[in-house]
């Protein structure tokens, strides 16, 4: 007759395994943790709004209600329709121009000397200060806003692409040469695939910068779209609407970045899937 007596240490061990398994269970479902994190944030916001932190700080629930009001009366969809035009145009132009210029600079010394300093200066510059200059040259219309988006997005994309191309793994290049690969093959088969992770990182940063650019332009040039909603509701002291607008542009920017990452993994870099 064997009695199953467990020592205290064994019991502790067991509970430890149990909790760590539970924890692992939670970790395997990141969506739950993410929701908890969002709920926690919303909860703290709600409490802060009730204290209230400032007369101009609405509660989370007021902000959500304001968000749906803005959707329902059509002002937010209309605002996004107008904000997205310079944003999408600017980001697309920056993507193609930026990756193109970055690759050229990465591959040729002349291009590097000619262009890279310009983009380093642009990246280091406090860009908001340029925006009044842009309005002098391009007026106050769509062009000026698109340029504002590009001023912010282009340098990051160019510099990341350039660095990615410049820092391609040397042994891969040597390998390509030893297989008698042509210059074109070296670029398309070795350099671009090897550089693509960093290029994509640059694109994501560029898109994020584009969002900064379009909001800056709409606040500083002419109030249209999202910038108009923010300034208008601030002047009317409708702070819940103002916060809803700001939160919506942050959410859109975040979702866009997550979506880009998803595209990158699914379409361009299948080897990373599930990692």
């Amino acid at each position: 007759m064997a009695t199953n007596v467990r020592t205290e240490s064994e019991v502790t061990d067991l509970t430890l395994t149990a909790t760590s398994e539970e924890a692992r269970g939670l970790r395997d479902r990141p969506i739950i943790l993410r929701l908890v994190s969002i709920a926690l944030f919303a909860g703290i916001w709600e409490i802060a709004g009730h204290i209230p932190v400032s007369f101009a700080f609405p509660t989370f629930s007021d902000t959500i209600a304001a968000f749906f009001r803005l959707i329902a009366d059509g002002s937010m969809p209309a605002a996004y329709l107008s904000t997205l035009q310079p944003l999408v145009l600017g980001v697309l132009l920056s993507t193609f121009l930026g990756v193109g210029i970055g690759i050229v600079c990465g591959l040729s010394r002349a291009g590097e000397w000619l262009l890279i300093p310009v983009f380093i200066v642009l990246q280091a510059a406090p860009v908001a200060a340029f925006i009044p200059l842009v309005t002098f040259v391009y007026g106050i219309g769509m062009t000026a806003k698109t340029i504002a988006v590009m001023i912010l997005a282009l340098p990051v994309i160019v510099l990341n692409t350039y660095k990615a191309v410049r820092n391609v793994n040397e042994s891969l290049l040597v390998m390509c040469r030893s297989f008698l690969g042509t210059r074109w093959q070296t670029i398309t088969r070795i350099i671009l695939p090897d550089a693509s992770p960093v290029i994509f990182a640059g694109l994501r940063l560029g898109v994020a910068a584009g969002f900064v650019g379009v909001v800056l332009a709409e606040l500083l040039i002419t109030p249209t779209g999202i910038g108009d909603l923010i300034t208008f509701h601030r002047s009317r002291a409708d702070y819940a609407e103002m916060y809803a607008t700001i939160a919506s542009i942050i959410a859109l920017s975040t979702l866009t970045l997550v979506f880009l990452q998803w595209i990158e993994v699914r379409v361009f870099r299948p080897e990373k899937r599930g990692a």
């Binding site: 993410r34 926690l40 944030f41 007369f55 700080f57 109030p223 009317r236």
Partner: protein
Amino acid sequence: MTTRRAMFAAVLATAIGSALPLGAAEAGDMRIAFGDLPGIESIQTLAAIERTKERGVNVELIILNDEDLAAQAIVGGQADVGIGAPYTLIQKVGVPIRIFGQISTLRFFPVVNSEFYKSWEDLDGQEIAVHARGSGTEAVMLLMAKNHGITYGDISYVPGSEVRRGALLQGTVKASIVDAANRRALEAEAPGKFIVLPVEDLSATDEAVFATVDYLESNTADVDILVEELIKTGREITENPAVAVEFRNTYGLLPDLGAEADVEVEEYYKETAEAGALAINGGGAEAAADDFEFFTLADQIEGDPASLKVEDFWDLRPLDRVLAKLGTN
């Protein structure tokens, strides 16, 4: 990663929570938040502030970029007296702040390109450009449209009188509304090209002084001095606009503009004084009634103008005390 995110969220929320308003100033100190970059139209206010200083009130002037920021500074306790017309804020936010003196009334000039339009009626269904949605310029244009029984086509928003002046000169905008300085510039740069349309029945507050109820109650002496000096400078300039230039020289106001601005200062105040836009009795209940009408029309305050209560927006006591001393003009 996710726990770190949750931690970050918590840290962020705590940071927001700790940004609590600062305490109020001590008696004898007065922090005035100026909701606009001072220009020649600010000489009167700036001179009154200098004279308030001379009478022993330790005034600190805080220049802010925007009228809303000035109002927020008052509510947040970072400044004591704000300059602007915070009707919306008083009504919507329910913050205990009150206006206690009017400095000047709105003066804007609807300008149209004479090749296309000659009168208000011509603007029916036409595109106009104003400063911003919900701004005073828009309200003036809407008020005039209502008075003349017309409706505009598109209203486009172009912030900055000088920007709209440029657009008028270029011809991209054919009908707009600008301030006094830019109207004069338009007349100088393109004589005869533009017509200034008449504006009737407009006497809404452009700039007024306001503060929290607490501040007004615990700093009556300082507040009275400020109101008194504002009214006195307003009266002196109305009587003799050239005094504005003297004020500028005596107190060294707006030194960046140089001596050549003196001519402009004198012209500006001559015109403003003739139009009666400087408050020589500090506004009060009468001004409040005009403002109710204007700001409800502009959609900045809600309710029937006749049923809005003056005491919800104004604290008339400082003005009453000062007018008892100075007399009404």
